[in-house]
């Protein structure tokens, strides 16, 4: 079975700036493939090259078995796309939007009626079909946009940060839908900067500064961090990071919400040294314990291993 998406040395430069730097990967059919990284890492630029919105400077992208550069018309019929910015017509009603995209993708007649009813049902908009899209809540808009993106039942679905700005419950519902699509055989290519969403993906590509720094299953990525990770609770996390960053036992110190995460060389030495350093800096050490790494810790550790700082 051919891969749904196959990318080789894909590169995009804007002047001197390299937005995407020689990225290669394959996505299997029916896979939920996550694209994780901070803003400006090159996720959106990559997706735009895969959907024909942007021409690559170098490299090759094969989507649904066709070269995007040469057979873009065939590729377009086989993909659904939803961008991070809401991109349906706010001044059209729910039904008018559905009808327009039906027309654009050649979905008409009985099939359009069936698909329309399915979208209205899925998005919970059955009673709002004649409302202007502008009047809908963000969660509704997003599900309608998803509905329009899959109206023609494309084998591959590109979602560029589809849940940005949506509340956690809607986000959870949205992911249930994504699972349904994947189970029905749709390949889902999704980018996000929410770490907890990344856990839902079958495989994850971590991007930083235009480069692919890791690609694996979420559990294996977590296992890739061998150094011990400590979580520290203190009265002043910012000053604690400053005080600990230069200490030889600490590899990486980063704020993590109200806590500080420390990647250390040696567990026992760190448990001894850290409270001492804090005391001499006049800071309290409220709690210090070993924790399993989250994907964000993995990301930070991998960026450090690459020898660079994350963007954003």
């Amino acid at each position: 079975m051919p891969d749904a998406v196959s990318v080789r040395s894909l590169t995009r430069r804007f002047g001197d700036f390299v937005a995407v730097d020689r990225v290669s990967f394959d996505v299997a059919e029916g896979e939920i493939f996550g694209f994780l990284g901070p803003n400006g890492a090159g996720k959106t630029t990559t997706i735009k090259m895969l959907t024909g919105l942007l021409r690559p400077t170098e490299g090759q992208a094969i989507v649904a078995g066709h070269d995007v550069a040469r057979e873009v018309a065939i590729v377009k019929r086989n993909l659904g796309y939803m961008s991070q910015q809401f991109s349906l017509y706010a001044d059209l009603t729910v039904e008018e939007n559905i009808r327009l995209f039906g027309g654009l993708y050649g979905v008409t007649g009985a099939r359009l009626t069936a698909r329309r009813d399915w979208i209205l049902e899925m998005a919970g908009l059955s009673h709002h079909r004649t409302r202007l899209t502008a009047e809908l809540s963000l969660g509704w808009k997003q599900r309608l946009a998803l509905g329009c993106a899959v109206l023609h039942e494309p084998p591959i679905l590109f979602l560029d940060e589809p849940t940005s700005g949506v509340d956690p419950v809607s986000r959870r519902n949205f992911w249930d839908l994504i699972y349904d699509f994947a189970e029905a055989g749709t390949t889902v290519f999704v980018s996000t900067h929410y770490m907890e969403e990344a856990e839902y993906c079958h495989r994850l590509a971590l991007m930083n500064r235009g480069r692919l720094i890791a690609l694996d299953r979420p559990d294996r990525l977590r296992g890739a961090v061998q150094e011990p990770l400590l979580e520290l609770r203190t009265d002043n996390p910012a000053r604690a990071v400053e005080a600990l960053r230069e200490h030889p036992v600490v590899l990486e110190a980063a704020m993590f919400g109200r806590a500080v995460h420390l990647l250390v060389r040696d567990r026992d030495r760190a448990m001894d040294e850290v409270p001492r350093v804090l005391r001499s800096a006049g800071l309290a050490c409220e709690a210090l314990e070993v924790i399993p790494p989250s994907l964000e810790d993995v990301f930070v550790a991998l960026v450090r291993r690459e020898g660079g700082a994350p963007v954003g």
Partner: protein, 374 residues
């Protein structure tokens, strides 16, 4: 290259019309603004003068001098707002803007007139050069007629014996409205085509909906067609509406064959759509599109012969006007409306419009894909 899909175009055109007609502001721009503009130009832009404030100094105070003054007043073009015997008062009246015209009749006017020849002085406020020129023309004709009348009474024609009898064809009373209103129709249509076409594409880019269209099977040709067709329809409706107002409300005579005008309008609208499309390929935002539009429209109007005759422009600009669709359309619309001309005499303008439309359209079509996917 695949053929355009009628279904995709139909759905897109339907969507464009919905968007155009749904927003009350857009509706007003399309249907109310042209009518208001036409009414404004029809009534306000009037270069005719009436009851010009005139200051009179009559040093002669005879029956003859009074007759001359009456001749001025009888036309309705001049109204005596003040009189005096001191020339200084005339200077003050002009300085203060109380009068636009000063007439000074010298002492011995009646006697010299009887003896065979005399002169009077006309002083004009040249700061108002337009009105001053018109007033000067009227004054000259009044004085000429007065002299002829006098000579005829004495059974002789004045020296030279030639009388200039002027008759303005096509517009007997030289009313500026008859000249201006057809031109306004042309300018309004151009504005409409530019505005709607250039914003139609750029707005989609700004709202983020353009990407959604570009990833769909919709081709560039289909997108361009669906953006221009609705504007062309609106343009034709607007043109018909305001042409009817010009004819039935402003009594502008339409002496030509209306379909002649219709053909010209189609070519003209096409050139407007082409320029609008071109603007949309060089503008990233609605603001930029607005700026570009005015950068085109302002010189296009100035160099169209709307306000300033092309014959009095320096030769370089006269050549430039040949590239201006507004110029050609105004020549056609004025000639068809007022002179009843047709294709037989106006074909060069038609050809020019067609060439401009096709050339700009080709440029816009060539640039369009690059402006969509970078």
């Amino acid at each position: 290259m695949t053929l355009p899909s009628p279904m995709r175009i139909r759905e897109m055109v339907r969507k464009e019309f919905r968007q155009l007609f749904r927003d009350p502001r857009t509706r007003a721009v399309i249907f109310v603004a042209p009518v208001i503009q036409l009414l404004m130009f029809g009534y306000a832009v009037n270069t005719d003068i009436r009851e010009t404030a005139t200051f009179l100094i009559d040093h002669d105070r005879t029956l003859e001098s009074r007759k001359l003054v009456d001749a001025f007043r009888a036309t309705g073009y001049f109204e005596v707002v003040g009189r005096s015997e001191r020339p200084l008062d005339l200077v003050r009246a002009l300085d203060h803007g109380d009068a636009l015209v000063g007439i000074e009749i010298p002492k011995g006017f009646a006697r010299d007139l009887a003896a065979g020849g005399t002169s009077i002085q006309l002083i004009l406020d040249g700061a108002e050069s337009n009105s001053a020129t018109v007033a000067q023309g009227y004054a000259q004709r009044i004085v000429q007629r007065f002299a002829l009348e006098r000579a005829r009474q004495r059974g002789a024609l004045p020296s030279g014996g030639i009388e200039l009898r002027t008759r303005a064809w096509y517009n007997p009373n030289l009313e500026s409205r008859v000249y201006n209103v057809p031109a306004v129709v042309g300018v309004i249509i151009m504005l409409m085509c530019l505005l709607l076409t250039s914003l139609a594409v750029v707005r989609e880019r700004e709202f983020g909906t353009l990407d959604q269209l570009v990833v769909s099977p919709l081709t560039h040709q289909e997108l361009m067609l669906s953006k221009t067709l609705p504007v062309a329809v609106v343009g034709v409706i607007d043109l018909t509406a305001i042409a009817l107002i010009a004819v039935f409300w402003f009594d502008i005579p339409i002496r030509g064959f209306p379909p002649t005008l219709f053909l010209a309008a189609l070519l003209y609208i096409l050139s407007g759509l082409a320029v609008g499309l071109l603007i949309s390929t060089i503008s990233r935002t609605q603001q930029e599109a607005f700026m570009s539009m005015f950068l085109f429209l302002q010189p296009a109007i100035i160099l169209s012969g709307f306000f300033y005759p092309i014959e009095s422009m320096p030769s370089v600009f006269r050549w430039v006007t040949l590239l201006n669709p507004v110029r050609h359309f105004l020549e056609i619309i004025r000639a068809v409306f007022l002179k009843g001309e047709g294709l037989a005499t106006l074909w060069p303008q038609y050809v020019a419009l067609a060439i401009i439309a096709v050339a700009v359209l080709r440029l816009a079509v060539a640039r369009f894909p690059k402006s969509i996917a970078a």
